[in-house]
């Protein structure tokens, strides 16, 4: 049951980059939020890997906190999406430009 840590690091880098790609290229807000979740989880994976590597459970506790925060983030984020959809009748990021004003 031994895996080289460098491979896990590279895996997390790839996953994180894919997440960034999703956030930057997609126009659907929900998919953007999902991409953010990918980014968060790639970091979680890194936490777990190093936690196991150093035999130090602080990393795992941190993952627990990240999960809780992610849950809160998802709840609020999706609530915002629903509110946006109600007001703009769209969840296309290109249609929601109130920041410009």
């Amino acid at each position: 049951m031994e895996i080289e840590i460098i491979r896990i690091i590279f895996l997390t880098v790839v996953l994180f980059s894919i997440g960034i790609l999703g956030v930057l290229t997609r126009r659907n807000i929900i998919v953007m939020i999902m991409s953010v979740e990918i980014m968060l989880n790639s970091v979680n994976l890194l936490f777990i890997a190093f936690s196991r590597y150093f035999q130090d459970l602080n990393g795992e506790v941190m993952v627990l906190f990240v999960m809780a925060i992610a849950a809160a983030e998802a709840a609020v984020g999706l609530a915002i999406v629903i509110a946006l959809h109600r007001n703009y009748h769209s969840i296309d990021i290109m249609d929601i430009k109130a920041l410009k004003e």
Partner: protein, 190 residues
């Protein structure tokens, strides 16, 4: 190739593939399904690394709760809304950003490539359990605790008690925020 490596690479394949699915699939529901697959694969990866408790929690929290919420919202909002199914940026922008992101990840390859060149030295041992010494407050004797969930719970309720409580507060606020944001303001007739 031993069994953990085979498992590792297959999980890696699932993770990367499903991540790409999330990002590039045009239908948000399929994206969400890929994300579910991603989370399950990640849980498997956690289990492979020896963090079984976290793997269970990953499924419980992400798959069981968060993704259901996502699917709920997607299904309620984008019911057969074909206009929404094709919502990615124009091709030029996508290419530019892809190049940028590739360059970004290359940074890490360059950065990390220098370290840990030696093979088989820096390894994660999935089988090695955690252990921690705790004190039994009623008897005052010291116990050696092993096992994933136990050790984490001791850490959570002793070292990280304050953050733990604060996180619960954050969740409460998030619940209230979600309710407030989604609540319909109905015009009352006077």
């Amino acid at each position: 190739m031993n069994i953990p490596e085979i498992l590792f690479y297959s999980f890696t394949f699932i993770l990367v593939g499903s991540a790409f699915g999330v990002v590039f699939h045009r239908n948000p529901v399929k994206s969400a399904m890929f994300l579910v697959l991603f989370f399950v694969g990640l849980a498997a990866m956690y289990a492979l690394l020896g963090a079984e408790f976290m793997a269970t929690l990953q499924v419980l929290v992400y798959v069981g709760a968060i993704m259901v919420l996502f699917l709920f919202v997607i299904m309620l909002i984008t019911v057969r809304d074909e206009a929404l199914l094709n919502m990615s940026s124009n091709a030029g922008r996508t290419v530019i950003i892809t190049v940028l992101v590739l360059a970004f990840s290359l940074q890490f390859w360059v950065l990390l490539g220098g370290f840990m060149k030696a093979k088989g030295e820096h390894v994660v041992n999935g089988a090695a359990p955690y252990s921690t010494e705790v004190m039994n407050y009623t008897t005052g004797e010291k116990l050696l605790i092993t096992g994933n969930a136990e050790v984490i719970s001791y850490a959570l309720f002793e070292k990280y008690l304050l953050p733990f409580e604060l996180i619960s507060l954050v969740l409460l606020v998030a619940v209230l925020g979600g309710i407030l944001l989604t609540k319909h303001k109905r015009e009352t007739l006077q």
